[in-house]
């Protein structure tokens, strides 16, 4: 059964169906979009149940020739890491559709177009995580920029087109650097037994260390921009501020994961030596990102920018975990990607509701929401607690795994990174205090609390956050073998306890 192609096809079919609807039936378009994403989610969950957790090989593999002249294949397959990210995408999209039911209405174009873009984006996202052919990956990687670009520029607010352009140019720039590396890989593979883009085959290539380092950088910078890692992050706050909340969720929750996912899937496996060479640098950048993003978040005055900055900090943790090269950090990083998707989704969706009710995204314009709109305030609070990695919520597990895993190999980095948890308390509690606590500011008295649709949308997100906080095993069991595989393929074993055994 070609599950992966199937789940990629479902949104595309839905998009085609919506395209046939008349312009005026915007409600129908929304319902179709929700239905499609729900079907895709169910299909993905079903696929997840068929996944053999103990098997570290790629599963649900499909491979067909695409461009034979270049050895390019339509090849897909997932390991545990890719699977959880696909699952996350599949779960988040219907939530985004439901949560942002009216998001498309302030846009430049029709509702129909909005949902077509969303669905196309979903297909691309599945593809980018599932691809096992570097070229196919690149195609999805670049092509998914286009729907996001139109989603930001067409349906966002404020300086939306400037933000969309900034996003696109940043990403394209990174993408082109990656393209240069891909070209080099292609040529190298041609010299060493036939052109191919298969990851497995590429990871066997012989390269001089200079070549490897340069090519690694091509990939890594592309991913660092996407992730985003300091100092390549400045597109994110603008994009997140201008995009609709739903788009922001997909942007930060799904799209940015491509960066960190790419680091695992491509940087590590194809350039193991270069990865080791650059590890000190990357760890440094990650730690800087953690603290830097946190400080920026503390200083942020706009709630959406704040969330974007927190993500920079969180992506620092993820990158740190990836390059720490211990099973704990690796699993933690992947779990972090999954969890971050949901906690950011919760933050953005609730922030979006707050903003749409208040008509402002400046934190100072809120105040006392806890008394006016308790459910909304609580949702925001829980999301915030998840963001600051409160134990008992899902992010804690992943953040702690990253830290503890990093500590065994890079104690200094882990120690500095840990300061991020104090800063996290600041950047979450400051907006909580300003927006939710305090006296009810004028203009906020009559805000409406969440309606049923919004409650239905946020409930599963919070449920995931809480359940995985207490019982992360379902996710970890999928991730662990793949993460361990990554670490062992890199030739690393976990550092042993320095004193005594268990």
């Amino acid at each position: 059964m070609n599950y992966l192609t199937l789940i990629m096809a479902i949104p595309l079919l839905g998009a085609a169906l919506i395209a046939t609807l008349p312009q005026s039936k915007s409600l129908l378009a929304k319902q179709f979009a929700l239905g499609t994403t729900l079907i895709a989610a169910v299909a993905t969950i079903f696929m997840t149940t068929k996944f053999e957790r103990s098997n570290t090989a790629l599963q649900f593999v499909e491979s067909y020739d695409w461009i034979k002249a270049f050895g390019i294949k339509y090849a897909v397959g997932v390991d545990g890491i890719a699977l959880v990210l696909i699952l996350m995408t599949a779960l988040l999209t219907p939530i985004v559709v439901l949560a942002g039911w009216n998001e498309s209405e302030g846009g430049r174009w029709s509702t129909k177009t909005f949902y077509i873009l969303i669905l196309v984006l979903q297909t691309m996202s599945f593809g980018v995580f599932a691809a096992t052919d570097v070229f196919l990956f690149y195609v999805f990687f670049e092509a998914m920029l286009v729907p996001v670009y139109f989603l930001i520029g067409g349906y966002g607010s404020g300086e939306r087109s400037a933000a969309a352009v900034k996003f696109l140019l940043y990403s394209l720039f990174g993408g082109l650097l990656m393209l240069a590396s891909i070209i080099a890989l292609y040529v190298l593979s041609g010299e060493q037994g036939g052109h191919t883009f298969d990851i497995e085959a590429l990871s066997q290539l012989e390269m001089s260390s200079t070549t490897q380092n340069l090519l690694f950088l091509g990939f890594f910078i592309a991913f660092a921009i996407k992730a985003p890692l300091f100092p390549f992050h400045t597109w994110l706050p603008d994009a997140a501020k201008s995009a609709t909340p739903g788009t922001s969720v997909l942007l930060l929750g799904v799209l940015d994961k491509v960066g960190t996912f790419g680091m695992i899937r491509y940087c590590l496996s194809i350039f193991p030596e270069a990865s080791k060479t650059f590890t000190p640098l990357i760890i440094t950048l990650s730690v800087i990102s953690i603290l830097y993003g946190a400080f920026l978040a503390i200083g942020a005055k706009d709630i959406k920018r704040l969330i974007a900055y927190t993500s920079i900090s969180h992506f620092g943790f993820i990158t740190l975990g990836i390059f720490a090269m211990t099973t704990q950090a690796q699993s933690g990083a992947t779990l972090y990607m999954f969890n971050h998707g949901f906690s950011t989704a919760a933050l953005f969706l609730v922030a979006g509701w707050m903003i749409s009710r208040r008509g402002s995204s400046t934190i100072a314009d809120f105040g006392g929401l806890q008394r006016v709109t308790p459910v909304m305030a609580w949702s925001f609070f829980i999301a915030g607690m998840s963001s600051l990695a409160l134990p008992g919520l899902s992010s804690f597990v992943s953040e702690f795994l990253v830290l503890v895993g990093t500590f065994t190999r890079y104690p200094v980095a882990a120690v500095i990174a840990t300061f991020g948890i104090v800063l996290a308390a600041l950047y979450i509690l400051i907006p909580v205090q300003r927006a939710l606590h305090g006296p009810t500011e004028p203009g906020n008295e009559n805000l409406k609390d969440l309606n049923l649709r919004e409650k239905i949308a946020i409930a599963p997100v919070i449920a995931v956050i809480v359940v995985l906080g207490f019982y992360p095993s379902p996710a970890l069991n999928i991730i662990n073998p793949a993460a361990a595989q990554v670490v062992s393929q890199m030739g690393f074993t976990d550092p042993l306890p320095t004193h005594g055994g268990k």
């Binding site: 099973t327 134990p391 804690f396 948890i421 606590h437 970890l476």
Partner: protein, 630 residues
């Protein structure tokens, strides 16, 4: 995996209560408080049952564990969601659920008029659950969950009236100070895993024997950092005073009886680490000593009754921490003082709450005076607590605090004398400020509108106060009788190594303690009891008093050393991000655009200059040829 001995229900009941009340929303307004109280009470009953069962077993087999499920398992990092109830935990379980239930009952009346009472009870239940998890977790990571959980509950409760900006700020301050401490706990766990490969108490205990001094010291120091955060010890003590913004039952439960003692629990629980790390132990003592004086000094200057009590709490926990730093002999006394303190301090806080309740939420003691006439029961219970905290025999404090002073003196050498003296001096200060509180509040002449006198609180409030007062009177004797607690806890603390040389007989030390207490109390009487008290704080006071009123400049210190530089750093980074990082990006874009515009001018429109360009190109080519064929 299966719930075989029901430990989990201890936590699950209040947790369920909390979740239900929060999710049900306004629908639960009418019965929420009762439900929550019931949950807490049932938890207490379960705890009592466990205690009873435990009593029935041998000393060596008293600990029970329960593995619920595998929580986190990655590679060699395996943490179960597991519970451990041993002699140490049970003390806490009973204290938490017992005092907790009493405070639930008290709050039913105290929060009667608040329309958000249900939410308050939900938070209380959440706190109980988290605190139980803290003391019952079988590993540092489980403890960590409870640790942050109580921090969250504390945050929520301090900020319960967060519509007042100051209260919201206080709650945030508490959370952040706690987070700094939590960081220490994180470090400790990381070091433990890196060096020992495990984070469970049993595992670490076993591995500690073979571990290096350095690692153990590091873990110990980090645990101490965690403890200072949670237990409001120096240097992370500043949040406790502000935490009094929360409703008074909260102050009683969380910021006096239970949560703030979590640091003591942590150090005691980690005895196997501290015992092997003398440096860390010494620092524990120093921190305790500093804090006990620090709190006591602040206490002497505070006019706000709750803040005075909070300072007292800080000071008393300083005693406990000091005790834990004194090695195996100290742990039991620390715990004993912790338990007795739980009774008398909670009782006094509830008393203070009662006074506030009776005076229309007045907290300034200079506006009180002579309240004993109007609130006799409150006066009585408060007075018993007062005697207990002073260490007047045979009240509870006498048994616990004297033992700590004694142990301090016996810890050996100059150090022993020094910390013993500090402890003794602390006792004098305690007597002074507590007497001051008593006099200002209950004695003297009323300094309020006599036509609108305070009224005694309702039965529901007085009942817990009474029970706690009984505890204040009896608990010390019960725990100390035949060294009951010491023996009870003994299996946990390795060997009973004994203490250093008895430089003075115990009786002498007790007498000395009693003497300084009397001196302190008398001094207070001379200062406040003889004449009328100004109803506003005098301003022409010594610099020391002013500093003490400003909490020994703790906030000024934090503000100038952390907050302002932090804010400046934040502004700097925000600016840097805009100007340097994003500025570079924009600069590259501008440079690209600019060079495009500049190059564009080469297109002059004159065909002759285009021809010239071609000629120049041709010259360049032939010049290159000329060069290569040279």
């Amino acid at each position: 995996m299966l719930v075989n001995n029901g430990l989990v229900y201890l936590i699950a009941l209040p947790l369920f209560g909390s979740a239900l009340l929060l999710l049900a929303g306004r629908r639960a307004d009418r019965w929420g408080h009762l439900f929550a109280t019931a949950m807490s009470a049932m938890s207490f009953v379960l705890g009592a049952v466990q205690f009873y069962e435990m009593l029935g077993r041998d000393a060596e087999n008293r600990a029970v564990t329960q593995k619920l499920f595998t929580w986190i398992s990655v590679g060699s990092f395996n943490v179960d969601a597991g519970l451990l109830l041993d002699q140490l935990s049970i003390c806490f379980v009973l204290l938490i659920t017992g005092v907790g239930t009493l405070i639930h009952i008290y709050s039913i009346a105290y929060m009667d008029h608040d329309k958000d009472r249900r939410r308050f009870f939900a938070y209380l239940n959440l706190f109980i659950a988290a605190m139980l998890l803290l003391v019952m977790g079988d590993s540092y990571l489980n403890l960590y969950v409870g640790w942050e959980g109580v921090g969250l509950a504390s945050y929520l409760l301090i900020g319960f009236w967060n519509q007042k900006p100051a209260y919201a700020t206080a709650s945030k301050k508490a959370f952040i100070a706690n987070r700094v401490g939590d960081m220490g706990l994180s470090f400790a766990i990381m070091i433990a895993f890196a060096t020992m490969g495990t984070v469970s108490f049993i595992g670490v205990k076993e591995a500690a024997e073979g571990s290096s001094q350095g690692a153990l010291t590091a873990i110990g120091l980090m645990l101490l950092l965690a403890a200072t955060g949670k237990s409001a010890q120096f240097p992370l003590q500043a949040w406790l005073g502000d935490a009094m913004a929360g409703p008074t039952p909260v102050s009683a439960l969380i910021h006096a009886a239970t949560m703030v003692t979590a640091g003591v629990y942590l150090i005691t629980r980690s005895n196997f680490i501290f015992d092997a790390a003398p440096t860390a132990q010494l620092l524990v003592v120093i921190v305790g000593a500093i804090t006990l004086l620090f709190g006591a000094i602040i206490g002497t200057a505070k006019d706000d009754i709750k803040k005075a009590l909070a300072a007292s709490t800080m000071s008393q926990i300083g005693y406990m921490v000091l005790a834990t730093g004194l090695g195996p002999v100290g742990y039991a006394f620390a715990i004993m003082h912790l338990l007795t303190h739980g009774f008398f301090k909670a009782g006094m806080f509830l008393g203070a709450g009662s006074v506030m309740h009776g005076t229309g939420d007045e907290v300034n003691m200079r506006k009180f005076g002579g309240i004993r006439h109007f609130m006799p029961v409150t006066f009585a219970t408060f007075g018993l607590g007062y005697l207990a905290i002073l260490g007047v025999p045979p009240f509870a404090g006498f048994y616990s605090k004297d033992k700590i002073i004694e142990t301090a003196f016996y810890s050996g050498g100059i150090k022993g004398i020094l910390i013993g003296s500090i402890a003794l001096f602390g006792a004098a200060l305690t007597a002074f400020y507590m007497t001051r509180v008593m006099i200002l509040t209950f004695a003297g002449t009323p300094r309020y509108d006599i036509n609108n006198p305070p009224h005694e609180s309702s039965f529901l409030m007085l009942l817990p106060m009474g029970i706690l007062a009984i505890g204040s009177v009896t608990s010390g004797f019960l725990l100390a009788r035949g060294e009951a607690l010491v023996h009870w806890l003994e299996p946990l603390f390795h060997a009973h190594e004994g203490h250093g040389p008895e430089i003075l007989p115990p009786v002498v030390i007790s007498l000395m303690a009693l003497t300084v207490v009397i001196i302190g109390a008398t001094f207070a009487w001379f200062k406040y009891g003889r004449g009328p008290v100004a109803d506003t704080a005098p301003t022409n006071v010594s610099i020391f008093t002013r500093i003490a009123r400003r909490d020994l400049l703790q906030d000024d210190f934090n503000e100038s050393v952390f907050m302002r530089p932090g804010q400046a750093l934040t502004r700097l980074i925000v600016k840097t991000d805009d100007v340097v990082v994003d500025g570079t990006v924009r600069g590259v874009a501008a440079a690209t655009l600019g060079s495009g515009a500049a190059l564009r001018t080469s297109q002059t429109g004159f065909v002759r200059s285009y021809a010239a360009l071609i000629v120049i190109g041709a010259i360049a080519l032939i010049a290159a040829i000329w060069a290569v064929t040279l």
